[in-house]
């Protein structure tokens, strides 16, 4: 391969570069074969003594160990002599754009007899657009969509005694899939039918999921808007607010403060311990590190309610502490510590080892390497791990349900007496069943969701600084 063709690196991927010279084993033949224009990115195969195809046929490929040029797009292809050796099959072109057949990209192989003119004409072919939709595809999709809608409308609302939108949509979808498959089968082979049905299935699955996510977010904000428009909702507490008082009385300030204090304490302990453990597992290593990793991995399986029950039993029942913000913080800490440790571990593990080795090879000590190379490299990734841990911790209800107790007033001391938090407030007010309380609950849920969204956006911005991201 490489001795046959001369592909200077400077021409890689640059279509306007000068033609690449293709040398053939018998150089005398070269003149006989035309060189194709620059810019035409066409596939070709270069015959050698052993029949061998250049793998660069369809454009970009991944680097592979054998062929460093594999990622390149050959700007220009020289044509190879067919007289050479026992005329090998030459892949001259890939399927041109033609109707439905485009679904099955199959290389057309032709055997070249006379190399000169015919070869050239078939090589200068416009490359087909791989992802283009054919008319058949578009029409059968929309046709089945409209057709199944009409059919189901008639059957569902006119003929059968069915009601309800959900059933309608489900039946419509089933009818659509059947119709789409049937219409496709009329003019296409089975593989194409399977392809289209699978594509429709995958797309509708993804659509359902993203719809669910959107509706969950929108629904929370919509139901919460009654409470959210009142400024007092964000700053007041619920002290002295009667259940019948309107939404312009009372608020969730105490729950916001409580959530902040609890998650703050939990993170204060979980961050150094979690990241420290991850550093221990990766940078110090050894047999004990493996043991620690096993236990941390196991504890990620601990259900959050069991974490809450553990803290409840130990701190509140055994040691006789009050239900307090501190107990809730402990429960959250137990829950997010393995999450943060594991996520940081993953971030550290995917860090390129070359950087570490380079630093050590320059004579830096292990600590200098960690402080000056490892931590700065993975910092965005660590931030991501931490923030996702916070998001989990702040939104989880079950640990605080067992440990914090609920209040209706501002309370800043986590060690003394119950302390409300956002998820707990949502839970208790929704459970109460009163319309106003439910509105407040949705308002609090919207605030909680906004908080998580904010944390999430911050994570994305941090992660954009590349390196170590997942």
């Amino acid at each position: 391969m490489s001795e046959l063709i001369d592909r200077p690196d400077s021409t890689l991927n640059v279509p306007s570069m000068p033609p690449v010279v293709v040398e053939v084993t018998t150089p005398a033949d070269i003149a006989a074969y035309p060189i194709v224009d620059a810019g035409a990115t066409i596939s070709s195969a270069l015959p050698t003594e052993t029949v061998e195809y250049a793998p660069a046929a369809l454009g970009q490929y991944n680097h592979s160990a054998e062929d460093p040029y594999a990622t390149t797009e050959l700007p220009v292809i020289g044509y190879a002599p067919s007289q050479l050796a026992p005329s090998p099959p030459v892949v001259t072109e890939f399927l041109t754009d033609s109707g439905q057949a485009a679904m099955i990209p199959a290389p057309r192989v032709s055997y070249q007899d006379e190399p000169s003119t015919t070869a050239t004409s078939s090589v200068i072919d416009t490359p087909r657009i791989i992802n283009a939709k054919t008319q058949d595809e578009i029409l059968s999709f929309w046709g089945s969509l409209v057709g199944s809608f009409g059919l189901i409308w008639v059957v569902y609302t006119q003929l059968l005694p069915f009601t309800g939108r959900v059933g309608f949509v489900i039946l419509w979808w089933i009818a659509f899939m059947l119709m789409y498959a049937g219409i496709t089968a009329m003019g296409n082979p089975r593989t194409v039918v399977a392809d289209r049905v699978a594509a429709a299935g995958v797309r509708s699955g993804a659509f359902i999921v993203f719809t669910a996510l959107t509706t969950a977010i929108l629904f929370t904000f919509l139901r919460g808007r009654d409470a959210l428009v009142h400024m007092n909702f964000y700053v007041d507490d619920m002290a002295g607010v009667r259940p019948t008082d309107g939404l312009d009385h009372g608020g969730i300030g105490h729950a916001i403060v409580g959530s902040m204090i609890e998650i703050g304490i939990a993170v204060l302990f979980a961050l150094p311990l979690g990241v420290g453990t991850a550093i221990f597992m990766n940078e110090v290593g050894g047999k004990s590190a493996r043991l620690v990793r096993t236990v941390v991995d196991a504890m990620t399986a601990l259900p959050s309610i069991v974490a809450g029950l553990f803290i409840y039993t130990v701190l509140i029942v055994t040691f006789g502490l009050q239900r307090s913000g501190f107990a809730a913080a402990c429960a959250i800490f137990v829950m997010i510590l393995p999450i943060i440790a594991r996520a940081s571990d993953v971030v550290l593990r995917v860090m390129p080892g070359g950087l570490r080795e380079a630093s050590l090879a320059l004579g830096a000590s292990k600590w200098q390497t960690v402080r000056k190379v490892v931590i700065p490299t993975v910092r965005p990734g660590l931030a991501t791990a931490l923030i996702l841990g916070i998001a989990r911790g702040v939104g989880e209800t079950s640990p605080v349900l067992l440990t914090s107790g609920a209040t209706t007033f501002y309370h800043f001391n986590p060690f003394d007496g119950p302390m409300n938090s956002l998820p707990l407030f949502v839970f208790t007010s929704v459970r109460s069943g009163q319309t106003l309380a439910i509105s407040r609950g949705f308002g609090a849920a919207a605030v909680l969701l906004a908080l998580v969204l904010l944390l999430f956006v911050v994570t994305r911005l941090l992660a954009r600084t590349k390196v170590g991201n997942r």
Partner: protein, 342 residues
């Protein structure tokens, strides 16, 4: 420096030179003090985390010994939870836990598979990173929000779906509900607060976890094999079936099991949606069921110390189940061709 170069000849010299008090200096300079501190501190952190974590596991384990001694094997087989009559067992809640998880997984699995395939194979390249972060966002949405979504938005619609399923598939025991589906105003409440509706909410919570693992594995499928399949004339689905899915099999199974482990332990959506009931039944469409986490959330308040031990034992059983599932999942992912990356 010269000392470094010389020594090798010294020991190998045939005739022993009488005076070798010139010991070659150790090449390894030993750890600098900063490293010693660093190693020490990180070891302390690592071990303290190890101790915290192990202590929780051991504590739960030890707490459950008296319960198992007292109730013996019947703790796992008894269905009633009546601490006043000294009859305590978790078989009903275990069945309920698995029913909810089963419903959740039968919804979450196909959707997660479709989502991850869509993101890795079908979505336009421009949207890919956006969609990936949407899935991450879905994982970050608090479970109470999914609970509200399930209770207020989905339940009124799912009741009709459940009724429809009962009316037309009621002969399957799984879809049976203990009421007359043809009754003129059919009993809506019999279909509410069921394991089915809780399962829908839980499925949305655990789906992103499965989808994230699957997507990661799918995107690692070797490009060479993909192109080879396409080059042989495979359609996109043919390529997915012959390359991507076999390659990602470990990730599909592992991701599904990871999210199953999470589904078993979900609390708040279940507590919000289902009304507790302590009988063993496989009728997810019908009102009332109970899961271990719901049991804990509902009973911890009034529990005496022995009841608390029983609740802790139930929690321990749940933890052991999720631990086994998670470990199996990790092993399956690690042994699959796509390697041990989460």
């Amino acid at each position: 420096m010269t000392a470094l170069l010389d020594p090798p000849s010294a020991p190998s010299a045939p005739e022993p030179t009488p005076q070798i008090d010139d010991v070659p200096r150790s090449i390894d300079p030993g750890l600098p003090p900063s490293d010693r501190i660093f190693f020490g501190v990180s070891r302390v952190i690592g071990f303290s985390v190890f101790i915290i974590m192990a202590a929780i596991g051991l504590f739960l384990g030890f707490q459950s010994i008296p319960t198992f001694k007292r109730y013996g094997f019947s703790f796992l087989t008894e269905s009633a939870w009546q601490p006043d009559k000294d009859v305590v067992g978790i078989s009903a809640v275990l069945v309920g836990t698995f029913t909810v998880a089963l419903v959740a997984m039968s919804i979450a699995f196909p959707l997660a598979l479709a989502t991850s395939l869509y993101i890795s194979e079908y979505a336009p390249a421009k949207f890919k990173s956006f969609l990936v972060s949407m899935v991450d966002l879905m994982a970050a949405v608090p479970s109470i929000v999914w609970g509200l979504w399930g209770f207020f938005l989905i339940q009124p619609k799912a009741i009709h779906l459940a009724h429809w399923l009962h009316t037309h598939l009621g002969w399957v025991p799984f879809f049976h509900v203990d009421t007359d589906p043809e009754a003129s105003p059919w009993a809506q409440t019999r279909y509410a607060a069921s394991a089915f509706i809780a399962g829908i909410a839980v499925s949305m919570m655990v789906l992103p976890m499965a989808a994230a693992v699957m997507r990661q594995v799918f995107s690692q499928a070797p490009v060479g094999e993909r192109e080879a399949a396409l080059g042989l004339g495979a359609t996109r689905w043919g390529m997915i079936r012959s390359v991507v899915l076999p390659f990602g099999r470990g990730g599909i199974i592992g991701g599904t099991m990871l999210s199953l482990g999470r589904a078993l332990g979900e609390t708040i959506a279940v507590v919000l949606i289902v009304s507790p009931a302590f009988d063993i039944k496989f009728r997810p469409l019908e009102i009332g069921t109970s899961t271990i986490s719901q049991l804990i959330a509902g009973r911890f308040g009034e529990a005496t110390s022995s009841q608390l031990a029983a609740l802790l034992t139930a929690g321990f059983v749940l933890f052991i189940i999720t631990l086994i599932i998670n470990t199996l999942a990790a092993m399956i992912v690690a042994r699959s061709r796509s390697g041990a990356q989460e």
